[in-house]
Symmetry: C2
Subunit: 469 residues, 2 copies
């Protein structure tokens, strides 16, 4: 299958290889446990189980969980959660040590962004795991310089975003990072909602009752509130730019709601990347972004709207071109439509961090400081895992994470205490699951200032022979 | 009784009048309810009760709570909580409408602070109610320009303080507020711990097991972590200044831990305002602050430490002079030592706000965004009220408050939702109290941007005939 003529370069093979390696590592767990269940009453069970786990999963299992199956049946649930955690721990370590998704020329991304008139790109996608690859895959952005905070329904916290805006402007003013304060650039906030083209009423956004228009409207209103908040709180013409994007989680094709010259967007008016893909299927190879910019100008003209500022037009064209590459990817490796259009996440991630999760349908991620504030987002996640795991008797694995700034004294200890606090609050809120062994936790912290790997600091399944890494 | 010669002006009478008026309004509640309990079976009970309440407390009681006492005994607990809330609501409204603690020349305070080399004064006292008057009474500062966030044991949140530092520097850089970024001033963070000179082992800080040295050490370490965090996180010589103060909650005399020329402080070395009071009892009237500065210089010399920067020396002298006025106050109106050296708070305040609470032993105030994060501070408060109220069968009144910035769209609705979320979390954590009718709530929000009064938005005791104000 050939490339779309507007897609340059080819990182699809590399992206696919990474996706497959990680997804298969998780997918292999159930088959191994099924085999172990069959062998559990055999006399050489422990040795055989360890050999099989080593060969198939690449690691051994905690001896504690394999012994004594002649007395009590194998605790498949615990073993399952343990394997999910261990697989994630290995994936996380590899991510930070080997940087499998590193982008060549990531440094030039800042320059490009600033040429477009933006000094910060802050994206809030929905917490849904089918959107977790939005940065690195769907929009083909380098993940390091882009800020991502996920919220159910993309309904991000306005006050939290205002804090981030303040910090960003302070660094520009005081330290000229990432550019000087008098450079004519702005903070760009993007909200990403989603829908399912195959089953719009069932597989859309749970937080908006699978109502695509409501999802778009909700995200747009949150964006507008953030901008208004900046404008009303600070003087000297303080404002931000906004962009609303929808993702079809079945095909990864985006809907880009192009702002007009005044920055206004319309929930009902958007560029459909899938239509763009077909409309330009026979375009001449050449300057892809210029071709897409022409398309966008024609769209504005047809929609009777003003053309956005040149920088916004340029960024929009780049995002759309990037998405054409992802449409190619899904066509080539997933027959144009994912087999798993519904939820297939392997674990819930909660807390602050998870930069290493850039893959689709692996993690339901709720960005939160406390369970109290993030309860609604967590409830959505638990509901999803009721359908995926609990229904079959498998526990819900929850990775609790708190990234910290290691240069602040005591920050690591406080991050660890935060993890424990989050675990306690989680276990309290879902105590019925805990009591039935249907909820397990792994606690991790990471010094994001040092760019270090994440470290395990606790959890419900630490076995005597497993060290805290 | 004459003034101390170094105390200028006399606002003590005015401060006492306000303290007495508010404290008596709360103190009157129990006597009225005692009377009502005695009358509850009389035929004209409702009319008589209302008349007595009007005459004594200045307001009527909810009819609902007075009716039917011929069937069921008067619910004194509910009535008590309702009266505490109504008294606080009236006190709060009066505070914002009539500004009884307004300071003449508060505007000149910023100028003074900047002359001393500081652009922000950020004070974290212990949450203990016996310290709630530390800004306006103990240190005689105007309450509006001083930032106050209370934490049990004065163990303030370093990351929260870093955020405030960032915001402050952004405003200086971007808007020249309160002064230009190139002015040679710094952010001053003060932590205030406390002890009891009468019963040091029983009436000290509960969060530190009434161990005065531990309280001082804990607060000092937190201050140092904050400074280190600023220095490590930002370049260009970013730093802050620190000051550690202890308050004897029996006499309001402070211990000021004077920083040396490098900003270092010693938990065991301090200026005792009470000693200063006596040492200077026969000083010549004149330039009080100059006299105290001389005293401080001699202290440095005797302690073999370097003299702090002139601005810090000047501020320290001003705070000590202010405290001499408060020592006079306690000597004149409270016999030199409060009768209530132990806890006598009337309610717990939790959330964000409470600028109107500037009085001693009225409110145990826990600054928090969520119960999850503030649980330890709340537990200390609940323990205190077990001794004060629950032991006698009276409920714990908890005022939940969330101040918001009204210029940010949706902020009011989010503040209201926050109050409800805090109430739900509180009721869940202390459900045994709720089930026994021993915990009641009042929810308030306030637009701090507009300088408005606080508004009631809910609570556990809204009666049918009481409107939400």
């Amino acid at each position: 299958m050939g490339h779309h003529p507007l897609v340059r370069g080819d990182e699809n093979a590399r992206l696919y290889q990474y996706e497959q390696a990680v997804k298969q590592a998780f997918a292999g767990i159930e088959a191994v446990l099924r085999q172990l269940a069959a062998w559990q009453h055999e006399s050489d069970f422990v040795g055989r189980a360890q050999g099989h786990a080593r060969a198939t999963l690449g690691f051994e299992l905690p001896a504690e969980l394999l012994q004594d199956t002649w007395i009590q049946a194998l605790d498949t649930g615990r073993l399952y959660a343990w394997c999910v955690f261990e697989t994630f721990r290995r994936m996380s370590a590899e991510f930070f040590e080997q940087r499998p998704l590193a982008v060549e020329g990531a440094a030039s991304f800042h320059a490009f962004l600033q040429q477009c008139g933006f000094h910060t790109l802050d994206i809030s996608p929905c917490a849904d795991g089918r959107l977790a690859h939005v940065i690195r895959y769907v929009l083909r952005l380098p993940h390091e310089p882009v800020r991502r905070k996920s919220y159910a329904g993309a309904l991000f916290d306005v006050e939290d975003s205002l804090e981030k805006w303040v910090e960003t402007e302070m660094l520009r003013q005081r330290e000229g990072r990432p550019n000087a304060a008098d450079a004519p650039t702005r903070y760009l906030k993007v909200a990403v909602y989603h829908h399912s083209s195959t089953r719009p009423d069932q597989e859309g956004c749970a937080a908006h009752g699978s109502d695509t228009r409501r999802a778009a409207q909700g995200a747009l209103e949150r964006l507008q509130a953030f901008r208004q908040g900046v404008e009303n709180s600070f003087c000297c013409g303080a404002s931000i730019d906004l962009l609303l994007i929808g993702v079809d989680t079945d095909t990864d094709a985006i809907r880009l709601h192009l702002p007009d010259a005044d920055g206004a967007m319309d929930v009902d008016d958007y560029i459909d990347a899938n239509e763009l893909y077909h409309a330009t299927a026979n375009a001449a190879m050449g300057d892809a972004e210029a071709t897409v910019q022409d398309h966008l100008r024609r769209h504005c003209s047809a929609a009777n709207m003003t053309v956005p500022a040149p920088g916004m037009l340029r960024l929009a064209a780049r995002l759309l071109c990037a998405n054409l590459a992802q449409i190619d990817y899904v066509r080539r490796y997933h027959g144009g439509r994912y087999a798993d259009i519904g939820h297939q996440e392997r674990f819930i991630g909660m807390g602050i961090g998870f930069e290493e999760v850039q893959l689709r349908n692996l993690t339901y991620f709720a960005y939160l400081r406390t369970v109290e504030e993030g309860a609604q987002d967590l409830d959505v996640g638990i509901k999803i895992f009721n359908g995926l795991n609990v229904r079959r008797g498998l526990p819900i694995p929850v990775v609790i994470r708190y990234d910290y700034h290691g240069q602040v004294p005591g920050a690591r200890a406080r991050a660890e205490a935060r993890c424990q606090q989050l675990e306690a609050a989680l276990q309290q809120r879902y105590h019925a699951y805990v009591e039935q062994g249907l909820l397990h936790t792994l606690l991790m912290v990471r010094d994001c200032h040092a760019g270090a790997s994440a470290e395990v600091v606790g959890g419900s399944l630490l076995c005597s022979d497993q060290e805290v890494h």
